[in-house]
Symmetry: D2
Amino acid sequence: MNYEKTFQEIYNELQNVEDFGHVADYIPELAHVDPNQFGVHLTTVDGKHYAFGDSEVRFSIQSIAKVFSFVLAYSRIKSDIWERMDLEPAGTPFNSLVQLEYDKGIPRNPFINAGAIVVCDILVDELASPKENMLAFIRSLLKNNAIDYNPIVAYSEKKSGFRNYALVNLMKSFGNIKNDIDKVMDLYFTICSIEMSCRELSESFLFLANNGVVPHSGEQILSPSRTKRTNALMQTCGFYDEAGQFTFKVGLPGKSGVGGGIVAVHPEKYSIAVWSPRLNKKGNSYKGILFLEEFTTKTKLSIF
Amino acid sequence: MNYEKTFQEIYNELQNVEDFGHVADYIPELAHVDPNQFGVHLTTVDGKHYAFGDSEVRFSIQSIAKVFSFVLAYSRIKSDIWERMDLEPAGTPFNSLVQLEYDKGIPRNPFINAGAIVVCDILVDELASPKENMLAFIRSLLKNNAIDYNPIVAYSEKKSGFRNYALVNLMKSFGNIKNDIDKVMDLYFTICSIEMSCRELSESFLFLANNGVVPHSGEQILSPSRTKRTNALMQTCGFYDEAGQFTFKVGLPGKSGVGGGIVAVHPEKYSIAVWSPRLNKKGNSYKGILFLEEFTTKTKLSIF
Amino acid sequence: MNYEKTFQEIYNELQNVEDFGHVADYIPELAHVDPNQFGVHLTTVDGKHYAFGDSEVRFSIQSIAKVFSFVLAYSRIKSDIWERMDLEPAGTPFNSLVQLEYDKGIPRNPFINAGAIVVCDILVDELASPKENMLAFIRSLLKNNAIDYNPIVAYSEKKSGFRNYALVNLMKSFGNIKNDIDKVMDLYFTICSIEMSCRELSESFLFLANNGVVPHSGEQILSPSRTKRTNALMQTCGFYDEAGQFTFKVGLPGKSGVGGGIVAVHPEKYSIAVWSPRLNKKGNSYKGILFLEEFTTKTKLSIF
Amino acid sequence: MNYEKTFQEIYNELQNVEDFGHVADYIPELAHVDPNQFGVHLTTVDGKHYAFGDSEVRFSIQSIAKVFSFVLAYSRIKSDIWERMDLEPAGTPFNSLVQLEYDKGIPRNPFINAGAIVVCDILVDELASPKENMLAFIRSLLKNNAIDYNPIVAYSEKKSGFRNYALVNLMKSFGNIKNDIDKVMDLYFTICSIEMSCRELSESFLFLANNGVVPHSGEQILSPSRTKRTNALMQTCGFYDEAGQFTFKVGLPGKSGVGGGIVAVHPEKYSIAVWSPRLNKKGNSYKGILFLEEFTTKTKLSIF
């Protein structure tokens, strides 16, 4: 199937949709992105590539990076990771403290901010050089290894990240953060600052569509069972307070970030990354979700 | 594949698992069920049947019936059903009023009690004889049409259903219930009282694995797109506060009831019903979930 | 001191204050009240009377009646009333279900709706003819005994009282309502429908300023200790979510109702009733609170 | 009246009460206090002193200091302090983040931790040398000016104060903290570390019973109206989640601290300080509250 023709068709249709969203503007580096950029890249498990638009432009992947950090922790940790976080949908806006206080410092899942901070706390314990090891891990998922952190983005996030500091302090007060807060948060903000293109995102998530094996290297990142479980987790928890909507309309497991990127995976078939910087009220790419909804409708390729 | 052999293997393994759960006991009719009964039935879209244990014994399907009432409303209503309920996971125990008050009377999804009550309110408007029409609809999904409501169960539920009356009154105070409360609740409690066997449940859910078409009659209940969406909704919202766990461990869309039944659907492939009356702390069949987890692990038939 | 001159002065000042509030309009009987009426009546423990404006016009006292029902229960019940309700400020809007669910059906105090409903449940157990006994009790506080329930108001409240039915059903689900819901709610709505004038309200609350003794009859309603405690309870809980504001600005224990009435008590000195139908956002009489704030400022008669 | 005889009587009675509480143990300096110490000191507005037990032993006054910081801010600030905090009872345990998130960073009142942190933020703006000015202010309320901060206590609080850091970061994320977090929290923890005896506490609160005038110096700290309002605020908000209980049972405005101290004020009459280190479940001195309840019952000196 020629997906690029489908990409073009959907893109044309979306031109008629008023673009209601706003670019994330809480840090200058996100606020200054050209909001009209749009890119898509689909990679199949058997190595085919389909691209459209600004698919080679790197952007700040933000919360999409939470999948990388979770997978690295999940692949390494021997103790029970699920004692320190749950795996249920959040059911409330994405960085709510209410749930965290009610559940005595246990985040609902590893893809909300609080959960991703606990994952960073685990990685600080598990890894010799957390930032370098994390970057090396993501690079190993790609043939090209030019991707990197953006220290200016990380610094800006840290300067305005009071709510995330509230989360980590609250969890520390409940004993669910083991390491020094500054060390954990430095890793957290650094990981979120990675910049990748749609092509790179699509490639790097392909192992999740391929039973845990990176196609180009043959490396087994996660067992087939843990791969399925990671996909299941993205399905129920990958889109903040909009996970149900995304599952309902798109029908694929995926993860979004406030940089406007979304990656979704069709097990055994492909991974796809879309990028459109304007966000809807729930903090997910406005046109990115519409695009994927149209894509799975036209191709009938939902998992359901 | 001979699923019956797999059923037997898993059943044997589960014999060694201590059965921690308790049978639902808030009404006598549920409390008096023999807790050691166990049944499974799998029906494939191409008409094969695999059964095990007490698969022909009828039990109270309880909340599983919420799928039938939702599907009937979804297939008939022209106005936007999603203005009156959301489609996000609940994120809190299954009949919490907190969310309902916070969201001004709009339930999180049609499969929690509050949402199913709104669905009944819609059906009271849409159907000439709601109880009869509802029963006729479920019967039409089966070749055998001997299933029926249990009026004693319905009566007991009504007598002890103060929390459900709190829900409906709260929603009425926000204007999200249009009809007389007693009429709506009579339909609600009646629908939950249906008794079906694993075989009947498995057969009746088969259209959800078959793009919306009932295999034995060829009737199109829902469009393929709405069928996928109903499955997606079961995936994120079918297990109260345990939807994430079920998705993570079993990896199939499904729905449970406090009678100890669970139905799950593998799109394009099969539907499966399990019954074991003892419930875990979240109100879902304790051994039913363990069974399905083992089943999708052994058969590698998760959708993820 | 000639309080009537002070009343006139404050009234004149308030003429220049824009009257932002709205008359309660959820039932026709409250909506149709002339909003420009204004009355005050102060009665001293040594029998002096000071009146101003529409002080002889009867109005619906609504939640002020919760003090009467609480006092009657408190004066009669032998078992520990505080096992079934707390005596802390609500801290959330006045009929919130969130607190009630969190605290497993135990209301925060007897002056919020949920607490007053529990008080009615107690009275149904304690009294032979609850409605008649209740009315007789209030009449005994007055020389004049012409006051009565307004059955039309009670009926209207019942027809629109879905939120109160949500409260009582929720409490019943937690086992904190012993009697039939309809019987309890009939008493609750009936008590709230009493109509009294400022003079009658002021007179009837005088025993709370007089160590529990009704001045005109010498009857001891409550012990001095329980009288002080009832006043303390009005101080912290008498004004829904505005108890702190009222204590801060007025500095007297009191109780308000959505009919626009407020009664306040200065222990050892007097009781005062004000009536002005327009309500502020918190559901308390807008000008009534302003009037009392000015009154205790001018007379320096706060208890603090 | 010879209060010392009453003190002795009540103390004797309390010897028979099992002492259920526990000394605060989250920092070593509080955990190591001898829990059997007990002191009382009452000072009348006309200069009489009544003492009992360990009334001259200094202890960590902790949250009682929130009254001093509030009064200093309230006496100096020209802008509206009530735009940045409310003056309603908290209604939830004393350092809950739920309320703060719900109310978008506005604390319920100045005596809960979050409110006292905002007060410190105001003082950082208002005062040239906040810590020195604050100490000078408290010393000015006493004839003896030997009281001081305990830097070890302040340091220990800071090291374990993750929950307070969660509060300040959350408020900063809502824009309700203007200054650098470390500067504000340094002031906050320092103020809480003041050590005073019952005699010193009683003396220093006497201006609140004396229309805002310090008896020994004649200095007007607050206007009579603002003094009454400060007392009113202590009445509704001085005891965390137990303000209603304290008002109900003791009937005086007051403030407690986790060091086991309680100060209460009888306007126009006296101020009284009690100290007993074991705390009840709500974090207030277990025997301190019992003592004051008995004291106002025996002396009939409640304000109600």
